[in-house]
């Protein structure tokens, strides 16, 4: 490989031996030296909290930052369905290898094989650890752990805690974090937002953060920095992400030289509550676990569709023979449990054909009738009670009687900071974990794998690999936050803030963000074309210029100011959206969540182009107004035969 920075550092040897080999190679830092080393972790979701807790236990000095008032608010908390692990407790012939295969295949052969294998390997340790932390996973009457199935898998390997698995796992990680805060190894900085990364001699040595409660700009130094700030799905304005989730921390790293991997890979989740109107600011996910028992359909007859829209009939009045269970029809082997990208596109296909079941024409049914007949309402209530309740709060519809209406929405970003096998970015000393990196999910993430990856990175992978870097730093003194590099970074941040306040235009940040969201959803959403993507790049540029001339940021700097927070995040979203469109334009193939309409089979399935695009695109920032440079990390598969995804038979 000619690229000097883009080295994946995958250990040699057979797939199943690689992680063992790397662990053996990594130098260990002695307890006395760990005490002298400082690590900054940005983000307190599953990845950040688990990493900080584990690093603290090991004896490092950790500082952890989150934008919320408490680490427990991080958006991992909203994950509903579950976490995968290859325990094979159900005796359905599951194994590490099968979880690896499903994940690589689910990601449409665009993830890094060695990382995925390691993920499957450590998945079992996560379940053990979480149970030991007191996570109340669902159990069977015999007292053993229960499992359910998720999309893209034919085994039951998903562990869950009702519809609140993310919450319970995050509370577990938060508890371990609290233990270390009590022990004095971790110091927590809630309501702090990272605004810049500080490099000294090309190495990550600290951050500039804004204290959200007071508006003060503060400096923090360390021997290494870990980014665990999640994804950038909010570039679409309407998404299932939390309102404060943003891509800015990762983006500042990109602008300081870290490559950005596969930015165009965004996941559109098939089961969200449809958009109800223009006043909406947030979409709500209905867990994928519902597809275990729910069947997705639209009417076969157009006359039924029209009657539904006018409110003349109810879904429950449409007889079985007039229902098109289109996933079961198109994908008999996996049925309603096809991966998310496929389920989303199939819903779009039916709605584009005119069969959408609500007044906007953008909704399909998720029906529990058959399951209720088979298992009884009580069993369904036990499994999904909180989800049905939430659905009723939002829509005023009782889903035990009438089917839910759902439509795809932006949910997760597979792309992120490019990292090597050790989860280190192209900047020495800067690591990225969880959703913030790109490595494990390829073109599409399988359900219940985000929790697995966040915790695998945080508990079991990063705490070891970061040691390899820090072992070389034991002689280095504490980072001096009065160094000129900190002065410079702080000044840049303060200038950016002053510039935003000085614009005094006419539009609110939210107003402009909605416009950006519309551009992104229209042209960089579920179906992408060359023409549309080119248009998106032009439109995003125009809107960015308008933003810098016409945004109005209320209030002042030195105080709690949510309008300023929004404006700063939005300023980065334009640039993220631009890179996503560029990456999507470059990737002239359809794979996973990235669907180029020009590249499809006659049946409308994604047409991958392995000959030309079996690589990770890693983009390098070249300066304001300059074209970013594309680097390619070729993907090689040794442990699995590359094949076209087939969920039909």
């Amino acid at each position: 490989m000619s690229d000097t920075k883009l080295i994946s550092h995958i250990p040699d040897g057979p797939l199943s031996e690689k992680w063992k080999k790397r662990k053996a190679e990594i130098k260990v830092v002695s307890p006395a030296n760990k005490r002298k080393l400082e690590i900054i972790v940005v983000g307190t979701g599953l990845a950040g909290a688990s990493a900080a807790a584990s690093l603290g236990e090991m004896g490092y000095n950790v500082k952890i930052f989150c934008i919320s008032d408490s680490p427990r608010r991080a958006h991992s908390i909203a994950a509903q369905g579950g976490i995968n692990a290859a325990k094979n407790y159900q005796n359905d012939n599951d194994s590490i290898y099968r979880l690896f295969v499903d994940t690589v295949k689910g990601g449409d052969f665009r993830s890094r094989e060695a990382n995925v294998y390691r993920l499957a390997e450590v998945s079992n340790l996560i379940i053990d650890h979480c149970v030991a932390q007191g996570v109340p996973f669902a159990r069977e009457y015999g007292g053993l752990l229960a499992n359910r199935s998720f999309g893209g898998a034919q085994v039951s390997r998903t562990f869950y805690a009702r519809g609140q698995t993310g919450q319970q796992l995050l509370l577990g990680a938060y508890a371990s974090l609290n233990k270390e805060i009590k022990n004095g190894s971790v110091k927590s900085y809630p309501r702090h937002e990272m605004l810049d990364l500080v490099l000294i001699n090309g190495q990550a040595k600290g951050i500039i953060a804004r204290n959200i409660a007071t508006g003060e700009i503060e400096r923090f130094g360390a021997h290494a920095v870990v980014i665990a700030t999640g994804g950038y799905g909010n570039v679409y304005f309407l998404s299932t992400n939390a309102m404060n989730s943003n891509g800015s921390a990762a983006w500042q790293c990109y602008k300081k030289g870290a490559y950005f991997g596969n930015p165009c890979f965004a996941q559109i989740h098939p089961t969200c509550i449809p958009v109800h109107g223009t006043q909406q600011c947030k979409l709500t996910l209905m867990s994928e676990s519902l597809r275990n028992d729910g069947r997705i359909w639209v009417p076969k007859k157009m006359e039924d569709v029209l009657k539904l829209r006018k409110g003349e009939i109810k879904a429950s009045q449409i007889p079985e023979e007039d229902r098109d269970y289109y996933l079961e029809r198109r994908y008999p082997a996996f049925g309603n449990l096809v991966p998310r990208d496929i389920a989303s596109r199939a819903a779009k296909e039916r709605c584009d054909a005119g069969y959408g079941v609500n007044e906007t024409g953008k909704a399909v049914f998720l029906d529990f009738k058959t399951a209720i007949e088979r298992l009884g309402e009580d069993k369904i209530r036990e499994r999904y009670g909180n989800l049905f309740q939430m659905y009723e709060e939002i829509t005023d519809v009782n889903a035990y009687k009438e089917p839910m209406m759902i439509y795809p929405a932006i949910h997760y970003t597979m792309g992120g900071l490019w990292v090597d096998y050790d989860l280190q970015t192209t900047i020495p000393g800067l690591f990225a974990i969880g959703e913030a990196n790109f490595s494990d999910h390829g073109g599409n993430r399988l359900g219940a794998s985000a929790l697995m990856q966040g915790l695998a990175d945080g508990y079991f992978i990063l705490p070891y690999t970061i040691g390899g870097y820090l072992a070389k730093k034991i002689q280095e003194p504490k980072t001096d936050i009065n160094a000129p590099e900190f002065d410079e970074a702080e000044k840049a941040v303060k200038d950016r803030i002053a510039k935003l306040f000085a614009i005094k235009g006419k539009k609110s940040p939210d107003e402009i963000h909605k416009e950006l969201g519309n551009i992104m959803w229209e042209y960089v959403g579920m179906g992408r074309t060359e023409e549309g993507l080119k248009k998106a790049i032009v439109e995003i540029k125009r809107l960015k210029e308008e933003f810098w001339k016409n945004v109005y940021v209320s209030g002042e700097n030195g105080e709690f100011n949510q309008e300023l927070e929004k404006a700063m995040r939005l300023a980065d979203f334009f640039e993220i959206g631009d890179l996503m469109a560029r990456d999507a334009l470059n990737r002239r193939e359809s794979c996973g969540g990235h669907f180029r309409e020009e590249m499809q089979t006659e049946e409308g399935e994604a047409k991958r182009d392995d000959e030309n695009f079996m690589y990770v695109s890693a983009w390098e920032y070249k300066g304001e107004g300059q074209e970013p440079e594309l680097h390619k990390e070729p993907l090689v598969y040794e442990g699995i035969k590359v094949a076209t995804r087939n969920y039909k038979d």
């Binding site: 408490s70 149970v131 109340p136 996973f137 947030k282 079991f460 109005y552 209320s554 709690f560």
Partner: protein
């Protein structure tokens, strides 16, 4: 739908707060309560960014133009209202409003973000206040500092287990009923409604949920007495009140965490107390 919004405004922890009144119009009944506040905030931003254009479309809402607007602007009334929110799915526990005298508003078992405008009478006046408790000082407007809850958790709300030290997850069977009850307690979202609604400002339901959830499981049982003692001591130290069994916390808890978990907390606490 139309509403008159009476809302608590407070510049920061050091200044005195007061109520201000605003009008909102054209609110969809399907909008959430927080979306209604977003719309009001957007209105306020436009009033500031372009007062002339705004006053043309203004239907007699107070202080939309002229001298009155200048006065309002000087008093900070025209700035957007700050409030905590994040997931808007009822799970992160960030949203925290006292609406018409009740924590998370008039509905039972929902958070503010899952409250929808169809639940309010068209044309009515809605009063919004921050959480009111000595342990939760106001940061700005409706935003309060709940870090005291984190400090209570840091005092003992965990199992002392190191990463990588666990045995196989199925080695200890746990009766389903116990796991389910533990999960009931663990559904606490840490929003602080229990504290805000309690006349004593007590955090006993918050602590009870954590202590009980862990005490029900063999993994958490080992430290349960010590955990209860430490968390309660921290609560006392931070200025929370004590429990007098009014059950207001349970009534207002958006996740309906039962006071029976306070009973289990008391049991664990007493065990420790007797040994002392």
């Amino acid at each position: 739908m139309k509403f008159t919004i009476k809302v608590w405004r407070q510049k920061n922890a050091k200044t005195k707060g007061h109520f201000e009144t605003y009008k909102v119009d054209n609110i969809s009944p399907d909008s959430s309560f927080l979306e209604m506040l977003d719309i009001l905030n957007d209105q306020l931003v436009h009033q500031n960014s372009d007062p002339v254009a705004f006053s043309k479309g203004c239907e007699g809402g107070e202080a939309c133009s002229g001298e009155k607007y200048k006065e309002a602007k000087a008093a900070g009334k025209a700035l957007p209202i700050s409030f905590d929110h994040d997931c808007r799915e009822g799970i992160c526990g960030a949203c925290s409003l006292y609406i018409n005298g009740r924590a998370h508003g008039p509905e039972n078992e929902v958070t503010t973000c899952q409250l929808f405008m169809r639940k309010f009478k068209d044309g009515s006046t809605i009063t919004i206040e921050p959480w009111r408790s000595a342990a939760f000082p106001v940061i700005k407007d409706l935003v309060v500092d709940r870090s005291a809850l984190d400090k209570i958790m840091q005092a003992g709300g965990f199992v002392d287990v190191r990463t990588g030290a666990a045995q196989d997850a199925n080695n200890i069977p746990i009766p389903k009923e116990k796991a389910d009850e533990s999960m009931d307690a663990a559904s606490c979202i840490g929003c602080g409604a229990c504290v805000a609604t309690c006349k004593n400002g007590s955090a006993m339901l918050f602590i009870g949920a954590r202590v009980s959830s862990l005490a029900l499981l063999p993994q958490g049982k080992v430290e349960s007495t010590r955990r209860a003692m430490n968390m309660i001591a921290k609560m006392d130290e931070l200025g929370f009140g004590t429990c007098t069994n009014t059950r207001a916390c349970e009534m207002e808890c958006p996740k309906h965490v039962s006071v029976s978990h306070i009973a289990r907390l008391n049991r664990e606490f007493l065990k420790g107390w007797c040994k002392k």
